[in-house]
């Protein structure tokens, strides 16, 4: 039984205790030295200030966009990268490469590439006569731009999970379908797609958890700006922490916790139940 002990101490002290403490401290006005109980004031502030509340909406938009794009692109890449093409191994490595680069490094690189005037992306668009937008300077676009970079970085994992699934489909299914006169598109819709459900569950859950908690990339690329247009919960937590509003920061943490729980737990239950039904 004491085999659990080292893990239990570290996990308990640095994860479980802070998590429970956060519920209390979110109800206080808190400097690190003393805290004063103020009831739900922090949450009232959070939901009445548009710049704080918008971060909740942005968090959801960011998570849904990135997770959706990773599912679609990951599946398409995986089907393509398991078909008979040359340089398959090389292509798989290339798609996976960005996963290993730190978010900070990617963030800095892309904020240069996305520079509205001299950035490579807009220069390239210029060759085709397109006037590129201010990817990170346009308040309506900043969050989407960061989401696209996040997809660029994370699609490799989704692709690999799907490849593992596609490879596991018995070839006989496709041969039987061919005998019955199904073409490639039909095989995809009626064989590959339904059998990819477990992999899809994994990709959705993983990328939603990652997307909802996402901080590094957003912080290095936009600092939540311009204005507050690309602020997410994790960046609000950091900003309020820096400003010394520890209670409010912790309240943001609790909101994030509740949001993750409210989305992931029903989804987990729903997606897994569907699997059993089949």
């Amino acid at each position: 039984m004491w085999f659990y002990l080292p893990a239990a101490i570290i996990y308990g002290v640095l994860f479980v205790v802070p998590t429970f403490a956060s519920f209390y401290f979110s109800l206080t006005r808190w400097t690190i030295f003393d805290s004063e109980f103020i009831g739900f004031d922090n949450f009232v502030t959070f939901f009445s200030e548009p710049f704080l509340f918008d971060s909740l909406v942005n968090t959801m938009i960011f998570a849904v966009i990135t997770s959706g794009a990773k599912v679609v692109l990951g599946l398409l890449f995986a089907v393509f990268l398991s078909s008979q093409i040359i340089a398959r191994g090389w292509l798989r490595s290339v798609v996976f490469f960005p996963v290993l680069v730190s978010a900070v490094g990617i963030g800095v690189t892309f904020s240069v590439l996305m520079d509205p005037f001299d950035g490579l992306i807009n220069q390239a668009l210029g060759w085709f006569g397109v006037d590129g937008p201010g990817w990170l300077t346009d308040p309506d676009l900043a969050l989407i731009s960061v989401a696209m970079v996040d997809v660029w970085r994370g699609v490799g994992i989704a692709t690999l999970i799907y490849i593992a699934g596609v490879v596991a489909i018995p070839q006989e299914y496709f041969e039987a379908a061919k005998v019955d006169g199904a073409n490639a598109t039909k095989s995809f819709w009626h064989i590959t797609l339904p059998l990819m459900r477990p992999a899809t569950t994994t990709v959705i859950i993983l990328s939603l958890i990652g997307g909802l908690r996402s901080f590094d990339l957003i912080w290095t690329m936009t600092r939540g700006g311009p204005g507050f247009s690309s602020d997410v919960l994790a960046s609000v937590v950091y900003k309020q922490y820096q400003a010394g509003f520890y209670g409010l920061s912790t309240a943001g943490n609790v909101v994030l916790f509740l949001l993750v729980a409210a989305i992931i737990i029903p989804l987990f239950w729903f997606l897994n139940r569907k699997e059993v039904d089949q």
Partner: protein, 284 residues
Amino acid sequence: MSTSAGTPRLNRTYSWVSGLTAIAISTVVFIVPFIFIFFTASKTTIESSLLEFTPPTEWAFFENLVEVIQTRDYILVTAFVNSTIITVGSVALMVVVSALVGYVLQRRKSRLNPLINFLVLAGLIVPPAVVPTIWVMQGLGIYKTLHGLIFVEVAFGMAFCILMFRAFVSTIPRELDEAAVMDGAGPIRLFFKVIFPLLKSVIVTVIVVQSVFVFNDFQNPLYFLPGDQGATVQLTLYNFQSQFQTSWNLLFMDILLITLPMLLMYIFFNRQIVAGMTSGAVKG
């Protein structure tokens, strides 16, 4: 895959045409940013400020390298030392403590198991509460210390490792445990002499995957290890971002330096990385 049905000749054409198209597109989308990093890191300050995607007209690679290392009193050297200590320390600790849990969790069926499984899943899902963690660390006197951050990384990374180990232990036959017990091995001997060596392949996977996570981690050092003394490589880049606003060549040299270790790791361990990131994920 046979979805691309047709005569062998058509298949060959398909294989070449789509392969080459894919290589072209993937090069533009995935490789060009890396080449851009390399080119910019090799330019002079003036040329790099144009942000153009061209080979440097004048190579200043080594000058930039030396300058970036000397910046702020060799902070990059400190950062590399710190990051190495944190990565090695936390990954080693993580492997040992989670292997213990994964092993017992799989072998002993007790009433505690549902609770532990729940805690492990929670560890994967729940976002850590930042300021309360700082508060606890201050109480223990480990805030702003390297070992403090090591413990934090262990606490946050443990859940993933436990799942990996539990899944792997289930493939080790129980008879092995029983034979060792018959030969008079106590639980500690049994674990470290018999089980631990058998876990070698999954340990390599866990080490590689967690090293990537810890080395590339930005958020935790930012919160729990502020200040120049405890700079990690990711933090140097973040700090240089405001300092080097006009010297893109130095900024990109830093990106190059902190990216290289993990890319090298991928070249040597790509099978383990891929296995870890996909299989571990599927079980989660």
